[in-house]
Point group: C2
Chain length 113, copies 2
């Protein structure tokens, strides 16, 4: 498999060949996490409908939940206006965060009304 050339042509990758990816819970709209994708991660996400990212620390693809079971079933994929960010609408199984929190943004509130 390789990424559809019509999509690949619209991506504006960073120096590491990656685009930013935001995962949002279907229905509630919660922002669950932000990670990175290379072309192959995006292709796998589109074709398998299981959210797949590129780990910058491990320098390899990872399908969300492959070890934890906390998978993300993908419903929608959107590319932003300048081609450097993907927005996924997903159904999150279990916790999105490796800490066990529902989202990666639950623990550290810097400002509130």
């Amino acid at each position: 498999m390789s990424l559809d050339p019509k999509i690949a042509a619209r991506l504006k990758r960073n120096a590491d060949g990656l685009v930013c990816a935001v995962a949002q819970q279907r229905g509630t709209g919660e922002v669950l996490m932000v990670a990175w994708m290379n072309d192959e991660a995006l292709d796998r996400t589109l074709t398998t409908r299981k959210a797949t990212y590129y780990s910058r620390s491990r320098q390899k693809l990872w399908t969300k939940g492959e070890t934890s079971g906390h998978t993300q079933q993908v419903h929608e994929v959107r590319l932003d206006c300048d081609g450097d960010t993907i927005l996924l609408t997903v159904t999150q199984e279990g916790a999105a965060c490796h800490t066990g929190d529902h989202t990666c943004f639950d623990a550290d509130l810097l400002l509130t009304d």
Copy 2:
């Protein structure tokens, strides 16, 4: 002004000294846009409650809406589990996208159920 050292110590900046920032509409939960912040942009966002980012292309701070009038009033600011992404809950005035779209993710749908 400078960023609270207790917050600055928790940031995990990229090689350019930046963290990723996701702006989400209060109430609807729509993801409006993704941009970047350096320490000063985050400090200004926290202290003025007007979303302020760092432009990588222009290499300077920009307060969202300073020319367009399409400001973002900031209600909540959260830092993610690994310290490299900020989530803003905002009230968007007018269009978030420079194209005139409501969000930067409106125009290019790659996959849907």
